[in-house]
Assembly symmetry: C2
Homo-oligomer: 331 residues x 2
Amino acid sequence: MAVTIRDVARESGVHVSTVSRAFSAAHMVNAVTRTRVMAAAERLGYRPNRAARALSTRRTANLGVIVADIANPFFPPLIKAAQAQARERDYHVFVADTDERARVEEELVRSMAKQVDGALLVASRLSGRVIAELGRDVPFVVVNRRVRGLPCVLMDVASGTRQAVDHLVALGHRDIAVLTGPSASWTAQRIRGAAEEAAARHGAGLHPVGPNPPTEEGGAFAAAEVVSGPATAVLAYNDLVALGLIREVEALGLSVPGDLSVVGVDNTHIARHCRPALTTVDMPVVAAGRGGIDLLVHRVTTGEDPGTVTLDTRLVVRESTAPPRSPLTRP
Amino acid sequence: MAVTIRDVARESGVHVSTVSRAFSAAHMVNAVTRTRVMAAAERLGYRPNRAARALSTRRTANLGVIVADIANPFFPPLIKAAQAQARERDYHVFVADTDERARVEEELVRSMAKQVDGALLVASRLSGRVIAELGRDVPFVVVNRRVRGLPCVLMDVASGTRQAVDHLVALGHRDIAVLTGPSASWTAQRIRGAAEEAAARHGAGLHPVGPNPPTEEGGAFAAAEVVSGPATAVLAYNDLVALGLIREVEALGLSVPGDLSVVGVDNTHIARHCRPALTTVDMPVVAAGRGGIDLLVHRVTTGEDPGTVTLDTRLVVRESTAPPRSPLTRP
DNA sequence: ATGAAAGCGCTAACAC
DNA sequence: GTGTTAGCGCTTTCAT
């Protein structure tokens, strides 16, 4: 049986309420009494039970961070940034992975609800309606998704996407495929929308392929359709998909960027390391993680809606994009 | 104010204890009463408060997973596997990142203590003494570290390390550098120990370099010392370090594996994607995550010590290792 | 400044 | 099968 406040009270010859005050409102207790209490606590190895404290204060000092897939390299830097910022504000962070499944996500939020003061919902796959409903149980901040009535941190992938299309068109591409991501992804919709708009502006053709899972397998799967179409360049939903596509395209005997230019999204560490290094849209994940926690803490401490923050994205050009092979030299 | 068991009791015209039973021991309550209770709960949008339940049952149905660095690609697959297995056993998982800092790790464990039934301590940087002490507050299972008196899941990196040294010697290398990782890392000690032993067996020279942080920066930092020494091959603490070393060695005008062979450890996805693709020791992280949760659940439900599980590792040969340049052709 | 007592939301004997 | 009654460990009035 763990040592409780009661044991400390007995050991130090004061009442439990005094011990409680010594720990949570030090200034309300005589300095020497406090010292005596603390000594007793130390001697006994007492640690406050946060769950019990939460039951009575209705404040856990925990925050939740819910992501679709920890193994997707997009998320870890965001999580780390969130965790660091939360520490700064004296909160602990619990991370949970929904495995890209809306059902799991909903259940996770529900089960987390009473154990955290608020949660960061990153790249949620839930419907806006469900999010709003869950939002009544837990204060949310939503990252990379716009939900009416909830504070949001948005990475404006549209601007980066436009830069990507401009870049491809400038290289001479006239037909661009876009690998659409999960249909429930807000980011996926924004990428596609911005790509369509930018392509139209240049009078270039845009060819949607998908939806496919946001993984290497998803990218590999799309390869056949891409190479059999007219596109000489591809905009992939994310770096993972881009990489899977590249590997499969190479397996089909074509080369990147020689035969096909590929642009990713996220600028994960993979983009720097893979061969060819990936031209990709950089997402400000560290700022998003930090900012998300800031909004969340603001929300849970003041009760106000801190509103929406939008962060810019930009294209990072590396080796996976080049001018299209001229028709004459095509096999 | 959230709706409680009390509201449901009033709404359905039964006593609170009946509502409680309806939720946690359905078979102990009349079917029709139960239906009525459930209907009332549904109508009111009642959700059991897990924290309150935990206070009274002393069981949270949460497990903790504590890792050094979520952004290190070694951890995410392990976390995912653990989370999946825990779900299977009706537990939720809270992940926390210690940022490679022992102080943070200790504090995290302490604060998690009362909110989880047990925790998986992965690649802990704490001293064995502290772990054992904390182990009195929370049931632990320790992954990749041997701690007296605690259940462990060990990935036997020594076997893979031996294979790596054998491989390098077979290629013709006579002098091998080993980039030692964090001195508090059990794995780091095992790698070094096994490498020394294997090198000695072959009569080859082994040259320790470090300790350096287990990151790309750590690897880059070690480059100068490596290239100025006699080694023609390097065994790095992990893939990240290997990659950082390779990049820096290339920046110094040398080539891998032409001028220097490099072996990593972990077989993270980076090893497959980087250029040159990395020869590395594969770690069975998925099995470790799963197995760790199995032991932990066993431990928390039965109270028994499930003992130690050891998993094998093996070398995966890719492109970053080759025979040493013969002295004649050296610049 | 400290003690007494009620209560946070739930479960678990023990009665009936 | 259901109601009664104590707690679980802590905070927070309200007295003193």
